[in-house]
């Protein structure tokens, strides 16, 4: 299926790099500052350095490295990320998130059957037999395998005992 104008977009990797590095720098500094709050002030004994010591090392390193990463990103040349199918990626992210959420709320089988079908259709794939096998047969087989062979219960629906 050829990509249409609205489906594809060339994105700048440099801008994304700057945004991510900047966001990580802000997050690192914020978290590092939070280790000096009252919630971390606890009495320690026998030379223990306390619960804030290791996080401060990790977050200190985080802040320094993210600052360096930001400098690198700002210095780097403009770089095209490639042709990204943003709408397809968005749909797949949404379907995966909803399927995961539904799996907890309505159980594995009831979430997976529509979730898997929608996931495959989001790629523009339309052959009915592979879709049926992947979205109906596979989840049911996996559910049966875990329930009856391994005796490990996958998330169940509020309506049935086992499914």
């Amino acid at each position: 299926m050829p990509a249409t104008q609205d489906q594809t977009a060339a994105s700048s990797g440099r801008i994304l790099d700057i945004l991510i590095s900047g966001a990580l720098l802000v997050a690192g500094i914020t978290l590092f500052s939070s280790t000096f709050s009252d919630s971390f002030q606890v009495r320690t004994f026998g030379g223990d350095v306390g619960p804030a010591f290791a996080p401060r090392i990790f977050l200190g390193a985080w802040a320094v490295f993210s600052a360096l990463a930001l400098v690198q990103a700002l210095k780097s040349r403009s770089e095209v990320l490639g042709t990204v199918r943003k709408s397809q990626l968005g749909m797949v992210l949404a379907i995966s998130s909803l399927t995961a959420l539904a799996m907890i709320k309505i159980g594995f089988v009831f979430a997976m059957v529509p979730g898997m079908a929608a996931f495959i259709l989001a790629f523009g794939y339309r052959k009915p037999l592979p879709i049926l096998l992947a979205s109906v047969v596979a989840p049911v087989v996996v559910w049966a395998l875990f329930t009856f062979v391994f005796e490990l219960f996958l998330p169940r629906s509020p309506w049935f005992h086992l499914i």
């Binding site: 299926m1 490295f65 596979a138």
Partner: protein, 492 residues
């Protein structure tokens, strides 16, 4: 000898053999399917280990671990696309051989080289792991602390993308382990009143999200349905024996490079394959033919990337320090089965370690057999529709995240980690250091605090351990060497 007998008794069962065969078949297939890779293949199998015995779990995972690296060569040779990054160098000579109508011979060379590399590294593993584990008793908290710093430095140094981003990933992974309760004081950290975070983050859901789900999302971003590449000349032909013996120096050199690069935490099979390829290209008498379909190129890549498997298991089994995503999952499986790598595994569960060596040996033989009989079949499977494959990875990822603790929160954590992983990948951030940081974070903090308590809060006394000082000196050298690279702009 007693351990060997006990290991044979426990591992030579029908269930273990079936698990090993399934693992080898799945590993080869997953390795051959572009985009799957070793970690995703291990993750898909992870949920099944909860219903299996310790021996069967180990057999399944070792089968996948060994054969997934080999499987990558099949697609590299047949469709000019390495199934795993470790097989990227295989394309250089494998595909030209296939274009010359010798795909079957190329698969033959890749199989022989993979087998040789795997067996060589296994021999080193058998001698090195128990010795290192015995020595590890002398490692105090400061030495372990120093080893972890060294590991993270190595991992970051060779990270794809940039060193700074690798180091940042390691720091993020280390910090993630501090979310939740502090073992010494009981204080809950970084939960911000959320009950969901009160118990801390589990490694496996984050690992699944960062590796498997982010791969699914990444491929969704770049997927355009098109006719699959034509697979031609599929089959298996064993190279002539004189041709193999003629090339024994290349086999030995590539296997040695792979094994020793594998021992270094984080360096991995991809780096090993390229280092080996450039070394063989420098020294081989047939170097002029390399890149045009010369078997030496296949030996360089395949013997070294398979030798990494045995090498990487040395620090994993002897010290409990994983070197890459694959060994993080293996370490997770051992922990789930109640085994503690290191001195405890060598002394209290020596038969399990011996069984592990046996399983590695069997896995290499099965890999050889699979290459001989199944190359044609795998060629056909390479035409499997990608959306269906990605949907299956999604399903097994969610199942894998859930079954670790039977907790729905882990499923959500997994998806969040997947989304974070794909965003980081777009910005050229390597995700492996995050996971390895998470695998090592708890030990890092525990050893640091234990050592500081022993040293009565004096950091200089804590670091006065000669082993720790030596390791930290090596770490400083590595950092100095990579400092020039760190200051360069990222062009990955």
């Amino acid at each position: 000898m007693e351990n060997l007998a006990l290991a044979v008794t426990q591992f030579a069962t029908f269930g273990v053999l079936v698990a090993m065969c399934v693992g080898c078949l799945w590993g080869t297939l997953a390795g051959a399917l572009p985009g799957m890779g070793t970690v995703a293949a291990l993750i898909v199998a992870l949920p099944f280990t909860f219903g299996m015995s310790t021996e069967s779990s180990i057999a399944l995972f070792l089968g996948i671990y060994v054969t997934s690296v080999y499987g990558g060569s099949i697609s590299a040779i047949l469709i000019n696309t390495p199934g795993t990054p470790q097989s990227a160098a295989t394309v250089l000579d494998g595909y030209p051989m296939a274009q010359q109508g010798k795909a079957d011979l190329a698969i033959g060379w890749a199989t022989v080289a993979s087998f040789a590399g795997g067996i060589f590294s296994l021999i080193i593993l058998i001698f090195a792991a128990p010795s290192l584990a015995k020595v590890s008793v002398a490692f105090g908290p400061a030495a372990i602390f120093a080893i972890i710093i060294f590991s993270l430095t190595c991992i970051a140094w060779v990270s794809t993308g940039s060193t700074v981003k690798g180091l940042l990933g390691g720091a993020i992974g280390l910090w993630l382990t501090t979310i939740g309760p502090d073992d010494l004081t009981g204080l809950t950290r970084f939960t911000y009143g959320s009950d969901v975070l009160r118990g801390g983050l589990s490694l496996i859901p984050v690992l699944i999200g960062l590796f498997a789900l982010s791969e699914v999302f990444h491929r969704a971003a770049f997927y355009f349905s098109a006719k699959p590449a034509e697979v031609r000349n599929v089959g298996f032909r064993l190279p002539a024996w004189p041709e193999i013996t003629l090339r024994w120096p290349q086999f030995l050199r590539a296997s040695t490079i792979g094994t020793f690069i594998g021992i270094l935490p984080g360096t991995g099979a991809t780096a090993a394959a390229f280092v080996s390829y450039s070394e063989i290209k420098r020294t081989s008498p047939r170097r002029d033919g390399m890149g045009k379909g010369e078997p030496d190129g296949l030996i360089a890549s395949e013997a070294s990337n398979n030798a990494v498997t045995g090498g990487a298991l040395i620090p994993t089994l002897a010290l409990g320090i994983p070197g890459d995503g694959g060994t993080v999952v293996l370490l997770g499986v051992l922990t789930i089965q109640g085994l503690t790598p290191g001195y405890d595994l060598i002394n209290n569960n020596a038969h399990i370690l011996t069984g592990t060596f046996l399983m590695l040996l069997v896995a290499n033989f099965i890999m050889f057999g699979i290459g001989m009989v199944s190359a044609r079949l795998f060629g056909r499977i390479l035409n499997m529709p990608e959306p269906v494959l990605l949907a299956m990875i999604l399903m097994f990822s969610l199942v894998g995240a859930f079954v670790v603790r039977g907790n729905g929160v882990d499923v959500i954590t997994c998806v969040i980690a997947g989304i974070a992983g794909v965003v980081l990948r777009f910005a050229n951030y390597p995700v492996a250091p995050i996971v390895i940081g998470m695998a090592l974070g708890k030990t890092f903090e525990t050893k640091l605090r234990q050592g500081m308590i022993s040293a009565k809060g004096d950091f200089i006394t804590f670091l006065s351990d000669p082993i720790a000082l030596t390791i930290l000196a090596v770490t400083a050298l590595v950092l100095l060497k990579s400092s020039a690279k760190m200051l360069r702009p990222n062009r990955a």
